[in-house]
């Protein structure tokens, strides 16, 4: 078995993307800022890539910034708008955000900024009403993810956008996990800042995108002339060409078809295992994600046991050096549901998963859990 069910952590590079990137490694290595032909060739590729991405998302090319990761796009969005004289400006966010934002907000809190976090319900989603109750004239920034990476639950971005609209406050949406899986246009239209990451939709790692309307004032994290002086550093031309090709290939309607498989998996697990809770079932979720608590096991150990069987899933925020610590979001849902935070695992299916492999996954998963429970 070699069944990769950790699609949300990273996706395999699409062959077409690699093909598009290769010449910019092997042949066309010029610096886009140079005036000579090698530079011009790269510069043109950069410009074309930017136009392709802008067109796909319905924005202007000057509204896009290329970064080195989704996390960098997040940091740039938040610290970029909050540097300077946002004295007293409070930040509204949720308890389910990605560590690249959680840690950023922790830092800002230590610097004296007020950060308010919407609690999560037992489905792992923040209530939109919380934003209505807590926003006010002092709110400088609302930051909310489009879909949670661990549970797949889609957050109420459009409702929050309506609430923010009536205030003089910026809206940042971390769409890193959602891009490629759900329609982006409502999000891009509603938000002032949107973060994306190439390796989540079959592009290369090491490339992120920040969509930022031109009038949003941004202070750079990395200084330099590139990206309109908002993000310095010689451009990663092959990476940018790659993300553009990957963006072109995005098709959320096709992605939705994996929902059938995911639902089959959840039905099988629910029928065959007691003491489990799938988060967000019945709520709007990414079509490929099944995040669940499993009583009587430790998520990290179940991951390793399934690894031995050639099935690859994930558990909370584990990393290879053996340190596992549940995220704030999972801890919140664990408290709300009465499960142990470290009993959480996530199965995020590849859209290519076949019925046969899905059945194998379901059976092996249940068998492994039963073995670990004895």
């Amino acid at each position: 078995m070699n069944l990769y069910c950790d699609y949300n952590s990273t996706t395999p590079l699409a062959a077409e993307v690699f093909t598009a990137m290769k010449p910019y490694f092997t042949k066309h290595h010029g610096n886009p800022s140079s005036r000579h032909q090698p530079g011009q060739k790269s510069g043109l590729a950069l410009q074309e890539s930017r136009r392709k991405v802008a067109e796909k998302f319905g924005v202007q090319p000057e509204d896009l910034l290329f970064t080195a990761s989704g996390s960098e796009a997040n940091s740039l969005a938040v610290r970029g708008v909050l540097s300077g004289d946002q004295v007293g400006g409070k930040i509204l966010t949720t308890a389910g955000e990605h560590p690249s934002l959680q840690l950023c907000f922790d830092y800002l809190e230590n610097q004296g900024k007020r950060v308010l976090k919407a609690p999560l319900d037992e489905n792992g989603a923040p209530p939109a009403d919380w934003f209505r109750e807590n926003i006010g004239p002092e709110a400088a920034l609302v930051s909310i993810m489009a879909a949670n990476n661990e549970t797949g639950v889609v957050y109420p971005v459009e409702k929050v956008a309506e609430i923010v609209d009536h205030q003089d406050c910026l809206l940042h949406v971390d769409a890193v996990q959602a891009a490629g899986k759900i329609k982006m246009s409502p999000i891009v239209q509603a938000a002032d800042l949107v973060s994306l990451s190439a390796h989540k939709f079959r592009g290369p790692p090491g490339v992120g995108i920040l969509i930022a309307a031109e009038e949003v004032p941004l202070t750079p994290l990395v200084f330099g002339h590139q990206e309109n002086e908002l993000r310095g550093g010689t451009e990663n031309v092959p990476g940018i060409v790659g993300v553009a090709r990957a963006v072109e290939m995005i098709a959320p309607e096709k992605f939705q078809s994996v929902r059938t498989r995911r639902d089959q998996l959840e039905e099988y697990i629910s029928d065959n295992l007691a003491g489990i809770q799938i988060i967000g079932r019945g709520r709007r979720r990414l079509a490929n994600t099944c995040g669940l608590f499993v009583n009587g096991i430790v998520g990290a150990e179940l991951v390793m046991k399934l690894d031995r069987a050639g099935i690859y899933i994930s558990a909370g925020s584990a990393c290879s050096s053996g340190v596992s610590r549940s995220s704030e979001g999972i801890q919140a849902v664990a408290t709300a549901t009465g499960f142990a935070p470290d009993s959480f695992v996530r199965i995020s299916l590849s859209p290519q998963v076949t019925e046969k492999k899905l059945n194998n996954l379901a059976e092996t998963f249940c068998r492994a859990v039963n073995e670990m429970r004895t």
């Binding site: 150990e301 031995r308 050096s321 053996g322």
Partner: protein
């Protein structure tokens, strides 16, 4: 198909163990490394550092077997480090490696690995396992490397899950094998006692990791007269001669540590010997024995003895006097070279009938 999990520290012995199993058997294998502390720069000199983990993973990659890192930090803190601190505060000299084998490696860690699907665990200990069903455990063939002493407290059922391929090897042979098979880079990593203390000094470790402030107190002689001052009772161990700061015609040795009175008792060498000592319990790997031999420290020669069950536990009568019998140390019982079991030394009372139960009155902080 028997699945064997290989405990790998990144060090030489476990690397050779893994290599032997991979090359000489057709068993289903995977390697694992336990993580007991954080991989931070200040811990570089402890065993849990990234360099050692890297060596273990790299070797597994080279051998074509899976590798897993298993987090035991919390359990290690609760079951090894905390009792280690408490023992010193109670005036004992603990043996954390024996406790770690009993509570962590050959207990909780074993169970994690069994849940991953292993049937047996192989490690690089220098111990001979004789027999597959109902095994017995004997000193490793290399007397200078024998590690059987450290297994004396391990639960029998758990111990039976372990294989020790290096028990039949001498260290020199292991080194030769390592050179031949390009494993010698692991040589710089050898697990050591106090693996969790980068300073390798228990006094410094206690100073840095607890609220405990050593208080000076009195040193008494066997008549109960004050003969000097100590710098804090945890700085001393039974049989210690140096650092007493007392001038006397003959050398003086620590005979007893009394934490509740914050006193040390010292005396001349002849007072250091004991013909018996007590234990609360003995972990027998097989049947209890009325006559056997006992080893009271790692690397000290065993002495014939008669363990006797008494009301409060056990009394061990020794065939010849032994010096510096230390509460908290492990007494390991042998029949010849065969490990029979062991337990912790409770007390070795002096003739004048001291050696009462003591409690740690200062709680270490986390």
């Amino acid at each position: 198909m028997t699945t064997v999990a290989i405990g790998m520290s990144g060090g030489l012995d476990s690397s050779v163990c893994a290599h032997i199993l991979r090359r000489q058997t057709n068993l289903e294998l995977f390697g694992f490394t336990m993580r007991l502390g954080k991989y931070e720069a200040e811990h570089e000199r402890t065993c849990c550092n990234m360099e050692n983990l890297y060596k273990a993973r790299k070797l597994c990659d080279r051998l074509g077997i899976n590798h897993y890192t298993l987090d035991m930090e919390k359990e290690f803190g609760n079951k090894v480090i905390q009792p280690f601190l408490n023992a010193y505060l109670a005036g004992e000299t603990p043996n954390p490696c024996s406790i770690c084998n009993r509570e962590i490696k050959m207990n909780r860690l074993l169970n994690k690995v069994l849940r991953l699907g292993a049937d047996r665990v192989a490690t690089g200990h220098y111990v001979q396992r004789i027999g597959s069903e109902n095994p017995s455990f004997w000193r490793g063939i290399d007397p200078k490397k024998d590690q059987s002493y450290y297994l004396a407290l391990v639960n029998k059922e758990y111990l039976e899950r372990f294989w020790f391929p290096l028990g039949f090897w001498k260290k020199s042979q292991v080194l030769t094998y390592a050179e031949e098979h390009d494993l010698a880079a692991a040589r710089s990593t050898e697990s050591q006692s106090l693996c969790f203390a980068p300073e390798r000094d228990y006094r410094q470790y206690i100073r840095r990791n607890t609220d405990y402030q050593p208080e000076p107190g009195d040193i008494l002689n066997v008549e109960g007269e004050k003969v000097g001052e100590h710098t804090g009772y945890i700085n001393y161990t039974i049989g210690q001669r140096r650092g007493l700061g007392i001038s006397h015609s003959k050398p003086l040795f620590v005979l007893e540590i009394k934490p509740s009175q914050n006193e040390l008792v010292v005396g001349e060498r002849d007072k250091l010997s004991r013909s018996s000592f007590t234990m609360s319990e003995i972990n027998w790997l097989g049947d209890k024995k009325d006559e056997c031999s006992v080893q009271l420290r790692y690397n000290s020669p065993p002495v014939k003895c008669w363990p006797k069950k008494v009301a409060e536990g056990w009394k061990i009568n020794l065939s010849q006097p032994v010096e510096a019998v230390t509460p908290g140390q492990v007494a390991a019982f042998y029949a010849g070279d065969r490990l029979l079991g062991g337990g912790r030394i409770k007390s070795a009372p002096l003739d004048y009938g001291s050696g009462t139960e003591v409690e740690a009155k200062i709680k270490p902080r986390k």
